[in-house]
Amino acid sequence: MQIERNNIAAKTITVVVLIVMLLFTLMPILFMVTSSMMTSRQILRMPFTWIPEGINWINFSKAIKGLDNNYIFLRNILNSLVVSTSVAVTTVLLGSLTGYGLAKFNFRGRNTVFMMIMGTMMIPFETIMIPLYMVVTMLRIQNTYVGLILPFLVSAFGIFQMRQYLTTFPTEFLDAARVDGMGEFGIYAKIVLPNCKPVIATLSILSFRSQWDNLLWPLLVSQSAKMKTIPQYISAFAEEKATDEGAMMAAAFIASLPMFILFMSLTKYFIGGSSVYESRKG
């Protein structure tokens, strides 16, 4: 009897804690969605009503038109897409090439190279951004895509993942292709790369979203409005339109939409990808 009562109490506590936490994590997201359709007065009404009275479309048009009515948000969305996609592509390509080299070839200094690359995990982006900024100013690549992308071409974490995955790749396949006269680069491009799909999926999502979320580096590199990225736009918009909460939430909602669509369609790669060490530079 006592044990059963304890059990019921334990179950109740579990359920209550889980639900409270569920409300805590989901309410703010729901708040963003509903308040993007409200006027400021409705958003800050006491008590807050969760159902918007009709959709206040002007929030969205304000968010897209931007502070100077020049639709710069669209350009900034494009910039974020270009930068995030490029970084995802180069991370996958360079990561797999390097990981393949480290996993399947015996050359002098291989372990040293591997340890050096792993060692870069100990150099967080925040500690090298000032020197990198000086390099970028010296090369005069501020306000360019090259400047935005260059420091993130590949990550040690990406190389590590690829190497771990490829170590178990059967060497006989590679040798068979060599016997057939396939070149080494051809083997990488036609046999190795197509066989890394699961790692490629996880890795490209990780690198895409780390750039999608990156505020610090664009703040240093992109001063011209045209070359800014979404996080910069959101922060500038929030600063200028601090009293227009509806428009702010509409901008935030638009900025989050692509990631949410990705998340909903590729949930397993998001959640699977986070269960390994994630070296987020930037």
């Binding site: 997201i29 015996n106 505020l215 610090l216 959640i271």
Partner: protein, 310 residues
């Protein structure tokens, strides 16, 4: 003869292998090793961006300035940044660690796999939003008329009290912690669920046969076997917290006072980029680098000894 030919092939292959890692090696040399060495180097000079004068070697002056006790009372001193970083890191990572462990155990004990999946996805959802979006949502919640006050007052039955979330120095720090905690809790819950799943169920079965209750199995079996994950999660979350920037930047640009949330990364940004004192900022970077390197080394050491014997 044949042997020599074979060796030739091996040599050729080795060359290809090196060729494949060469681009990455060049990349890391240029964009990781050179900058960190440069940060050390610059920190011994008095370099400013706009100054045309040749930078002067000043030895340890920048470091002396950072740790100058006379400056400690200055609200924007480096001491204050160390304090702000430490407070933020401890105040965020301890709740993250404890709660993510509890939630992961609760979720793992659920019987319905649908509920498990739903909870994992929902807890993880905030991590999908970018940090700026997270901060801008919470800034509205923390408005004097916003949901933060409404909820807290309803909960504590104290109608009409404004907690000054973004104005009061203490509350401002609490607010940054809440935002960060909210964004990363799901991520760490999933790490723990993965760790819990790797504990063989036969151990629990044996414990139940031996008459252990739930409490005992948690403290005597789950926690000890989960130790590697606990260490991993604590170091990772500490490293994450040390790097925090976007949240503090967003609050500051929206008018919140700077001193309470002037964490090291934010101080580096303001000093190096806005005030253009490159050398001073480099010295701060070096201090941050050393702090984080010690933590990472700790992590490498613990992950090496990660294999537990069951």
């Amino acid at each position: 003869m044949g042997n020599r030919k074979y060796r030739g092939i091996e040599k050729k292959q080795a060359r290809w292998g090196f060729l494949f890692v060469l681009p990455a090696l060049l990349f890391f040399s240029l964009f990781n090793f050179y900058p960190i060495l440069n940060a050390f180097y610059t920190s011994f000079f008095n370099r400013k961006v706009l100054s045309r004068a040749k930078p002067l070697f000043v030895g340890l002056e920048n470091y002396v300035r950072l740790f100058d006790v006379a400056r400690a009372s200055n609200p924007l001193s480096f001491y204050n940044s160390l304090r702000a970083t430490l407070v933020f890191t401890l105040g965020t990572f301890i709740p993250l660690l404890v709660l993510s462990l509890i939630l992961a155990v609760f979720i793992s004990n659920l019987s319905s796999s649908k509920a498990k999946k739903f909870l994992q996805i929902s807890y993880y959802a905030p991590a999908v939003l970018s940090s700026v979006v997270a901060a801008s949502i919470w800034m509205i919640i923390f408005d004097p008329r916003g949901l933060g006050n409404q909820w807290l007052n309803a909960l504590m039955r104290t109608p009409g009290i404004d907690r000054k979330w973004l104005v009061d120095p203490t509350m401002e720090q609490v607010s940054t912690m809440i935002i960060y905690f909210w964004k990363y809790i799901g991520y760490f819950v999933i790490l723990f669920i993965t760790g819990l799943a790797s504990i063989p169920p036969t151990i629990y079965e044996a414990a139940i046969i031996d008459g252990a209750n739930k409490n005992q199995t948690f403290w005597r079996i789950t926690l000890p076997l989960l130790k590697p994950t606990v260490v991993l999660v604590s170091v990772m979350s500490m490293l994450q917290c040390l790097k925090t920037f976007s949240t503090q930047y967003m609050l500051y640009t929206n008018g919140a006072p700077r001193a309470p949330i002037n964490v090291i990364t934010f101080n580096i940004y303001i000093t190096g980029i806005q005030e253009q004192y490159l050398s001073r900022a480099s010295a701060m970077s070096v201090v941050l680098f050393i702090m984080m390197m010690l933590l990472t080394l700790l992590q490498f050491r613990t992950t090496k000894s990660e294999n537990v014997d069951y």
